[in-house]
Symmetry: C3
Subunit: 146 residues, 3 copies
């Protein structure tokens, strides 16, 4: 499988995700919808979250225990209220949210093939909310290709 054709499009949109506090929220369908709207068949889609206390990741979306285990792992690795941290203006989950965001990242690029994100069978795109309270998070989705 290899192709080489003129690039014809760049499409960009911003969507809002309403989180319900700390945890993983699947956004795969939001990304797929933006790719469909772009009319790009072959290319790459970039997903970017404009915040420093949540992040994006690609993980297993079949067994709900996986997202629970991911949250438990990060809660142990970056404990709330850790005396190591000086930045705590917004509470014990403030600086841990920034660290968790840095460890997982705020930008993902995914190939587009056949007009869809070319994810593996078990892969889903997740927004990882690191603050304890619910937030509105902005995702910018940019699709390139022909």
């Amino acid at each position: 499988m290899s192709r080489s054709q003129p690039v014809q499009h760049v499409a960009q949109s911003t969507v809002t995700v309403h989180t319900r506090g700390r945890g993983l929220f699947e956004v795969t369908s939001r990304v797929a919808d933006a790719v469909t709207a772009s009319n790009v068949q072959t290319g790459v889609v970039n997903v970017f979250v404009q915040h420093t206390s949540c992040s994006l990741l690609i993980g297993e979306n079949a067994d709900p225990d996986v997202v629970g285990d991911l949250e438990r792992f990060f809660a142990r690795l970056v404990p709330d209220g850790d005396p190591l941290f000086r930045h705590r203006d917004e509470g014990p989950d403030d600086m841990p949210a920034h660290v968790r965001s840095v460890l997982t990242g705020v930008t993902l690029s995914i190939p587009v093939h056949g007009g869809k994100p070319l994810l593996g069978t078990w892969q889903g795109v997740f927004l990882f909310e690191h603050r304890l309270e619910a937030h509105q998070r902005k995702l910018t989705i940019s699709t390139f290709g022909h």
Copy 2:
């Protein structure tokens, strides 16, 4: 160094990497071959692995101790059989593989310059197999540019 020219190509291909169980497998030449085949001289190449229990990273490829040390670090950070994890359908390395994949990521974008990935002198692209057993892993390589 700065250039501005029409974008002419997007090329996409999928290759299979045969891992031999847990550890790092260098795929730099696979990425370079796909860039050569694309005829792109200046642009960006995205490498994406369609799995949730392996990952991609850019690391030092000169001293073999580095990849051994990376594996030892992740084995200690995310121990197999950790009682924290509920998802263990496929054994003690199942959930640790997902966590290691999230910590290192499944997507890399690398500049292309002079028809080659513009890596630093000591940088190599690695597929990091997190399962104990050998697997066949799919990489999608998408190259953009002119």
Copy 3:
């Protein structure tokens, strides 16, 4: 907000960042300058660092305590001189620098909108120097779009 127009440009430049030893160095204005020079209004910019002992991240750039806390977190997670590591040719910070680079990554893709990187209000782009001594680090900035 959604657009679909011909892609017209790919611009690529390399800049040097002089670090002053371990810590975070903001490079947001370097990235913004490259985007301005590219004349791209809507697209994506990729930032890539050609080294294995520093990295790139997007983090909070308002409170200086945040970058100090990030450094303290990584110093505890990946201790210098850890007997786990065999690769120590360049001193006790050698292998920890490689691990920190892998955990945070060497490549970032950011949407471009209105001729600027579309960062959130509190987001800055940082080069994270992991070696104790000062270094010259090369960043390649590639901007795509129309």
